[in-house]
């Protein structure tokens, strides 16, 4: 009887679940299901997806789930998942244990993505690294001295909700001037819309609403306004990352999420901003700044890394 791991990643639009063997990170089977729809609760969908992957004859050593929103990984409770109907103070770990009767654990999706990139992706070999996902929001995860840093209640790693400009633009969280309010996809798009409304010319003129992806496409065609938008976001990301370097002194910064695929203008600006803002060269000397390697699989692979840890403990 071989040992296996059952893992899942719950996103706002889809749930992905996978069965992994114990000895290598290639899934035996993966299934995808919509998070919402049909009036069926996302929890049932998740549990059914995991059940459908249950291996014949093999042992499941651990079940783990990457979940969105603030959660308590110690107690296994999802406090709030804005895009998942009904997930409020949900005792997800208990549900997993009751249904499957094997060791179970849950983790914040961005934190687990950091773990995934560290163990299986762009961060291999870096025992101190920072993962930042830049898409609709900005999330993050920190590996410190070879451990996922989750803090006293598992609420650490909210890198997007650090203040860059105290009286800056409003953030999705209700605060102002957070990194997320300056460099996320929607904030990039919003800035371009504001500039167009103010009369700036661009090949994006007339196309409203605008998406960050359209800005990236326009920037690839050297549209000056789109390039400026990516440079602006990169400059703010650099300020935030310099702060993270001074606090955490990692050797790798891994940037994932849709906005990370915006091309060289964004990364050139991050580099320039870092060079300008860093306290001393020693923070940059052996720093690797790179895009994520696992793409949409980062959360799932992080859940696998968590499962391996759970099974060992």
């Amino acid at each position: 009887m071989s040992k296996t791991y059952l893992v899942a990643d719950v996103g706002g639009t889809q749930i992905r679940a996978a069965l992994f063997p114990a000895d290598h990170p290639q899934p035996i089977k993966v299934i995808r299901t919509s998070t919402q729809g049909d009036g069926q609760a996302p929890l049932e969908r998740l549990l059914d997806a995991l059940a459908s992957l249950w291996p014949d004859g093999d042992q499941v050593a651990a079940i783990t789930v990457a979940a969105p929103g603030p959660l308590d990984p110690y107690e296994g409770i999802v406090y709030e998942a804005p895009n998942v109907p009904g997930w409020e103070n949900l005792p997800l770990k208990n549900h997993l244990r009751e249904r499957f009767n094997v060791p179970a654990a849950i983790g914040n999706d961005a934190n687990l993505a950091a773990l995934g990139e560290w163990r299986f992706g762009a961060g291999r070999g870096h025992n101190n690294l920072i993962y930042i996902t830049v898409s609709t929001g900005i999330g993050g995860g920190v590996i410190s001295d070879g451990q996922l840093l989750i803090g006293a209640h598992g609420l650490a790693g909210e890198l997007g909700h650090t203040t860059i400009i105290p009286d800056g633009p409003h953030c999705g969280c209700g605060q102002r001037g957070h990194l997320e309010a300056l460099a996320s996809g929607p904030s990039i798009a919003r800035w371009v819309e504001e500039q167009l409304a103010a009369g700036k010319s661009s090949i994006l003129t007339g196309r409203q609403p605008i998406t960050a992806r359209e800005v990236a496409t326009a920037a690839a065609q050297n549209d000056a306004l789109a390039v400026a938008a990516l440079r602006r976001a990169g400059t703010y990301l650099g300020i935030g990352i310099a702060n993270f370097l001074h606090i955490l002194n990692p050797t790798a910064i891994i940037i994932g999420g849709g906005v990370s695929r915006s091309g060289p203008h964004l990364f050139d600006a991050i580099h320039a901003s870092l060079e300008e803002r860093v306290l001393s060269r020693q923070y940059l000397d052996d720093l690797v700044l790179t895009t994520a390697a696992l793409g949409d699989d980062a959360g799932l692979m992080g859940a696998l890394a968590l499962a391996q840890t759970v099974a060992r403990s």
Copy 2:
């Protein structure tokens, strides 16, 4: 033969060295010597101070030194200590080993102060805490999951050199808008001087240059300008601390250094700023925000905690 620890804290003005027994944190003997003067090198003074404490008959299980400035605790090299003549790329750990032939280690003074407050001071029982020292500069240290967070090269915890206002006032490090440039003692005094020069009235009028201690004294007498200066510093400290909460999710914030003794105006403003800036109540629910308990002994006691660790490893 009993086991003892020899520890020292090197400051810009004085070196303190102490001999501790293995089993409790009361020193057997403490000596102080000036860091500078007499043309004698600070390194010789430090080594001689430690030698003079060498116990008769007892074993020294470890020697540790808290040192200022950026340093590499892995290699035991002090990169730069601006207030200690000649300490540039100084292989301090090797010097300790060669002279005394016992296990030795060094650490950044602010990082070790965090360790000291955690093991012996205001942070006991908090396995996730942040120590911030606010005096001439702003330094810090982080305990994460029961371990001192030092990062890949020991350069972590530079909490004073995180950007609060990207185009803000100049910082001692050469950058702009760092927490240190907004809330350190000199930055508080400088702001009051600017306000006086602009014609604001205060009981401090005519007294130039002004120190942060004078501002605190004036604030205790309800001088409006002095109160405003402390509130301003506290507000910025709150913004910085909110960032640290979101990144690290600790249960204790310990504030040391001379400015921490400025009274309730500073702490009221920190509290108010935190309440306003925090991402969710969960970061504050069981958070202890307190002044340091060890005062000037924090670095020395941190060196003791480091010595205990070195002796065990």
